[in-house]
């Protein structure tokens, strides 16, 4: 430390620090926190959103993203809804099922058949780094080779494992049927009191795109850009059941009013309901095709126009989703190069 060079370096660093401190002095700030808080509260954009919401799911004025949004919602539904109703379910592969939104809505009456409680609530958190995402989820965050034109600004979200328990309740079902006046199919015998335990996650999500980018010098909080690319990785949902089999439940769901014969046929054609994750494809918005991601069968959604595409597949015990406002070939390429 006493060499001339070291002394000079130390003096240089001290000078830099002093210069920076002086240079960065700022005029005094007199704050009225209460007034500021009122202003923030009354700002129209300050309405809280429930939990974490990806901008792609917000109502968008840009119809070209509708297909992508629909696909994203449907994938989320696939991971929750379909997982909820198949017992002893640990998917090893994926399969597209063409559905209409009317089909999906018709399944909502399932809630009349019992109660759902979370033994571990889902807590999706936005975190600052891949390391934090790993700390929250325990999953290695996929490393992505970004194509040209996709912003490297990344937002990470992560969720620890969540566990829900659904208990069938024959009395509740009968009451619901009585109040709505709609005939609901009778629960299979022995199903009353059966419990389904649904484990979702852990999961990590990477969202690429500068979503808070502002136009011009004046930033406007309302003006949020859509993400260019979303990469998600989640442990496959696992469902266990106390008294019912996958086949019993599948038959039961398919006998519910509102399920069209086409949808019923499509679901039946999947084969083993205990090991296949059905990917509902909204026929109004998206098309699907089968692809291979490094040997694992996957479902590609969307089209090749660059407006929006996604791919979902299962590798070992994880479900992967890559989706974005990109061409399908680009999305598939990203999926194949995921590390």
């Amino acid at each position: 430390m006493d060499c001339a060079a070291c002394q000079a370096r130390n003096k240089g660093m001290a000078d830099d620090a002093r210069a920076a401190a002086t240079l960065l002095s700022a005029p005094e700030l007199k704050l009225d926190v209460a007034t500021a808080f009122k202003r923030v509260q009354t700002a129209p954009a300050a309405k809280p959103r429930f939990g974490f919401s990806l901008p792609v799911m917000r109502p968008s004025t840009r119809p070209m993203f509708a297909g992508l949004g629909a696909a994203a919602i449907v994938v989320a539904l696939a991971l929750t809804a379909f997982a909820n109703i198949l017992p002893l379910f640990q998917p090893k592969t994926v399969q597209p099922v063409p559905v209409s939104f009317a089909d999906l809505q018709s399944l909502q009456s399932l809630s009349a058949y019992g109660t759902l409680t979370w033994s571990t609530k889902p807590q999706l958190q936005v975190v600052l780094s891949a390391a934090d995402a790993k700390a929250v989820s325990g999953l290695d965050v996929p490393v992505i080779k970004l194509p040209k034109g996709v912003s490297s600004t990344v937002t990470y979200a992560a969720m620890p494992k969540a566990v829900a328990v659904f208990t069938f309740d024959a009395k509740k079902a009968a009451d619901a049927a009585a109040t709505t006046g709609k005939p609901l199919p009778k629960l299979p015998s022995g199903i009353d009191g059966a419990k389904l335990t649904v484990t979702v996650g852990p999961a990590v999500v990477e969202v690429f795109g500068d979503m808070n980018a502002t136009s011009g010098g004046n930033s406007n909080s309302q003006n949020i850009n859509l993400p260019q690319l979303i990469v998600a990785k989640s442990a496959v949902p696992v469902v266990t059941s106390t008294q019912v089999t996958a086949k019993q439940l599948e038959d039961y769901i398919l006998s519910m009013p509102g399920v069209t014969p086409q949808l019923a046929a499509a679901i039946r054609s999947i084969g083993d309901p205990a090991t296949t994750l059905p990917i509902p494809v909204p026929v109004e918005y998206a098309s699907s095709s089968k692809v291979s991601i490094n040997g694992d069968p996957g479902v590609a959604l969307g089209d090749n126009t660059g407006l929006g595409a996604g791919v979902i597949w299962i590798h070992k015990t994880n479900v992967f989703v890559v989706a974005g406002s990109l061409k399908q070939s680009v999305v598939v390429d990203i999926a194949r190069n995921l590390k």
């Binding site: 660093m13 429930f50 809804a81 958190q125 600052l128």
Partner: protein, 182 residues
């Protein structure tokens, strides 16, 4: 799916209330610091408050105020949003730099620079020309954040902050000298 949706809807009223309470507590504990960071960048108290409020609004819309990362997120967002505003003024600043050069201010003397009111804005322009990470480190540290807090805000290990800070200080000094001697 119907099941999940309805459970979420039932709990919504209660959750929104606690969310709002948590947000108010977060606002009260962090507003001064967030506005301070923005002011450090902008050297303009009024604009700094605009930025601080914008940052809180964005946060509230996207995240839960009880999230562990909330303060770090706010600090980083305040620094970046304010730096972006300065960058937005870049063109005007460039003209001012050219003028300053014509007037012959070619040496760096921090004390003298402050004597000239206009120079404060030149310093901000220089700050905005730094890479985002060093600029954020400088601003956050100058706003009184600890090494650990700066590290959390920019997402690096606390051990790296000393080095990052020294490099950033040198870079700022160089950038100011360069900017005023063009």
């Amino acid at each position: 799916m119907g099941v999940n949706v309805e459970v979420a809807a039932e709990g919504r009223g209660r959750l929104v209330k606690t969310r709002d309470e948590a947000f108010e507590a977060l606002f009260k504990s962090e507003y001064a610091r967030v506005a301070g960071i923005a002011n450090r960048v902008l050297a303009d108290p009024q604009e700094a408050e605009d930025v601080a409020q914008e940052v809180f609004i964005s946060f509230h819309r996207l995240h839960s105020a009880s999230a562990q990362f909330a303060p770090a997120w706010l600090h980083r967002a305040a620094a970046h949003t304010a730096l972006n505003r300065v960058r937005g003024r870049k063109r005007r600043e460039r003209r001012e730099l050219a003028q300053a050069a014509e007037e012959g201010s070619s040496t760096l003397d921090p004390q003298r620079m402050l004597e000239v009111g206009e120079d404060r804005r030149l310093v901000r322009a220089a700050l905005a020309r730094l890479a985002p990470k060093p600029a954020a480190v400088l601003v956050l540290r100058a706003s009184g954040l600890s090494y650990a807090e700066v590290a959390q805000a920019i997402g690096v290990g606390t051990g790296q902050i000393g080095t990052l800070l020294r490099r950033a200080e040198a870079a700022l000094r160089k950038e100011v000298t360069r900017g005023t001697s063009i």
